[in-house]
């Protein structure tokens, strides 16, 4: 009966419901990243990787693991978070969380929290799969997990915005396809940007994904193309930007309330 300052039952109920949706389709949810990762290793690790020299003293197969994890983390974060909030809008069930005693913070915590959990879980599955192909060592496990969570949270917040902005399922796909995937492939997931010739190297430095992948690789191998501090700061900057947009969305009711 008491009206607490924090609706923990509400947050937990939504989180569980969202996770349930994920767990019900766990095999398709996990099969995709496992198969994709395996293919990457068959193609890049064995076929091409055997002809590639080590990068910064790291075996090429091991070098691409952090990049692969980030690649999947971006996509899964955006996909899960945007889908998680777009689905109730599409089905019309959004009326319920909107009419429930839940603050904007609690709603975001529940939906984005579930998406972060899913995306992080999938990238850990990728790490495990990769470990079957190449020996992966993690120099800074604590920072690795922290970085993983930070990036997942940031991209899930971004996905949440996409899910509210999108007017249909096509638009839901546009942002990941047109922006995130190209930036990731050009973001040094499969090579060190040091190998690029000059104007390209400088141009690449304007790609924010470079900082994320490079920073994440640092937590594994202790070497990075860019300063790790810049990586973390850039991520935080993007996170704050997403939070500001979400704050505005709930303040104005943009595409949520007529």
């Amino acid at each position: 009966m008491s009206v607490g300052a924090f609706n923990r039952h509400g947050v937990w109920a939504i989180y569980r419901f969202e996770m349930h949706r994920f767990l019900r389709t766990i095999w398709t949810g996990l099969a995709t990243p496992v198969i994709t990762t395996s293919l990457y290793f068959v193609v890049f690790g064995s076929a091409i990787g055997s002809r590639m020299s080590d990068i910064n003293g790291i075996d090429y197969g091991a070098f691409i693991v952090p990049g692969l994890m980030m690649l999947s983390l971006f996509n899964e974060s955006i996909f899960n978070a945007s889908f998680g909030i777009h689905m109730p809008r599409f089905l019309g069930t959004i009326y319920e969380p909107l009419s429930a005693p839940l603050s904007a913070f609690e709603l975001v915590l529940a939906y984005v929290g579930a998406a972060v959990t899913k995306a992080t879980a999938i990238s850990l599955v990728i790490l495990t799969t990769a470990n079957l192909f190449v020996p992966v060592s993690i120099l800074h496990p604590f920072w690795m997990v922290l970085f993983l969570l930070l990036v997942a949270t940031t991209f899930c917040l971004f996905g949440f915005i996409v899910g509210i902005w999108a007017k249909g399922f096509e638009q839901l796909q546009i942002i990941p396809m047109l922006i995130v995937t190209p930036l990731t492939f050009l973001g040094g997931a499969f090579y060190s940007i040091e190998v690029l010739p000059e104007p390209w190297r400088t141009i690449t430095l304007f790609n924010p994904v470079v900082y994320l992948i490079s920073g994440f690789r640092w937590t594994f191998y202790g070497s990075s193309d860019v300063a790790i501090g810049v990586s973390v700061l850039a991520t935080f900057g993007f996170l704050l930007l997403c939070l500001a947009v979400i704050w505005w969305i709930f303040r104005t009711g943009y595409r949520l309330k007529a």
Binding site: H9, Y95, L98
Partner: protein, 347 residues
């Protein structure tokens, strides 16, 4: 400071000068003020597009008001939304469901969202009461429309609201289920829940409501006790099928509120069915004195539907639907309605 006694006397929902303009510029609600009494069943009637759903959506926090203020159980729905919304349950008009989820988990989700700790026993009871227990594990998309409607009701009941909005709960529901639903609503009222429902079935309002509000083109044009309304407007009409057409109503009959059908063959007499002297015998006597013969006669008691139609068509509401039924009706009672409609504003 808060005296329980006076709290109970206060309206459970108080709407003040509520207006809503949608983004397109459409004015869906115009300066609506309405009080809902604690524990009553309030029926909101009005033609399609009148603004019923808009009104409900604003109270529930799904649509933003353009102007005005609302309190639910004394809590401002914007400033103190947590306390206000905890009290309110909503069964929306549209069947919006988590189609791919099983019945049980979506009902449990609703309870959680409203900040209530899990209570499987209660959810079981609700599902059993609504004859959904056998379907608890079924995906909602496998259910029929009537069952989906009941799932929506189960979701709203799962968090034990004190105030329940039912937006056309019986739309597309068969007769038997409709009876069950009425029974459920009565039970809820007995347990102290305030119920606000919208409906297009007038007999539903007539059957269940304590009070009726009529909304047309965004304006609340009448709020009245149902029995009072029936009494006040429970007019009877005597229809006389004349043997010979009349071109006008004879001056000798001016004591009676008569009107003439278009072809001059039907003479209508509207009278108060509750009055001691209806004036019917004396009218018939006077007519025979004047030699006006009739072949047949019939009386008709106006229902809420007649009242409703006359009100909304008078306002230029929903087209000319059934306008012919109101042609001969004395203008007087419509005037009455218009002014008594503001009862909700009196404090």
């Amino acid at each position: 400071m808060e005296n329980g006694e006076t709290r109970l006397m206060e309206p459970v929902i108080s709407i003040r000068n509520l207006s809503k303009r949608y983004a397109g510029g459409h004015e869906a609600l115009k300066n609506v003020s309405l009080d809902i009494n604690r524990g009553e069943i309030f029926a909101l009637l009005g033609p399609n597009g009148a603004g019923k759903t808009t009104l409900i959506s604003i109270v529930c926090g799904i649509v933003n008001a353009s102007e005005g203020s609302i309190t639910a159980d004394g809590h401002d729905i914007v400033r103190d939304y947590r306390a206000a919304r905890t009290k309110i349950g909503l069964v929306p008009q549209e069947l919006h469901t988590d189609a791919f989820e099983p019945v049980w988990s979506t009902v449990a989700l609703s309870r959680g969202m409203f900040g209530k700790r899990p209570n499987p026993a209660l959810i079981e009871k609700i599902l059993r009461d609504l004859s959904l227990w056998d379907k608890r594990k079924a995906k909602i998309l496998e259910l029929s429309g009537g069952m989906k409607r009941r799932v929506m009701i189960a979701k709203a009941l799962s968090h034990e609201p004190d105030i329940l909005f039912l937006d056309e709960p019986t739309a597309g529901v068969d007769v038997e289920l409709r009876r069950d639903m009425w029974e459920l609503v009565r039970q809820l009222r007995e347990s102290g829940v305030t119920i606000i429902l919208t409906t297009h079935y007038i007999e539903e309002a007539e059957e269940m409501a304590d009070r009726v509000g009529v909304i047309s083109k965004g304006e609340l044009i009448l709020v009245e006790e149902k029995t009072e309304l029936m009494k006040k407007l429970g007019r009877k009409r005597l229809t006389l099928n004349l043997s010979e057409p009349l071109t006008e109503i004879p001056a000798n009959l001016s004591d009676w509120a008569l009107s003439l059908g278009a072809d001059g063959l039907e003479l209508y007499y509207d009278f108060d069915a509750n009055a001691d002297r209806t004036g019917v015998p004396s009218l018939l006597r006077r007519m025979s004195d004047l030699g006006i013969a009739f072949k047949d006669l019939a009386t008709h008691q106006s229902s809420l539907e007649d009242i409703f139609v006359s009100l909304t068509t008078d306002r230029g509401g929903d087209g000319g639907r059934a306008a012919h039924r109101t042609n001969g009706r004395g203008n007087g009672d419509r005037e009455n309605n218009g002014t008594s409609g503001r009862a909700g504003e009196a404090e």
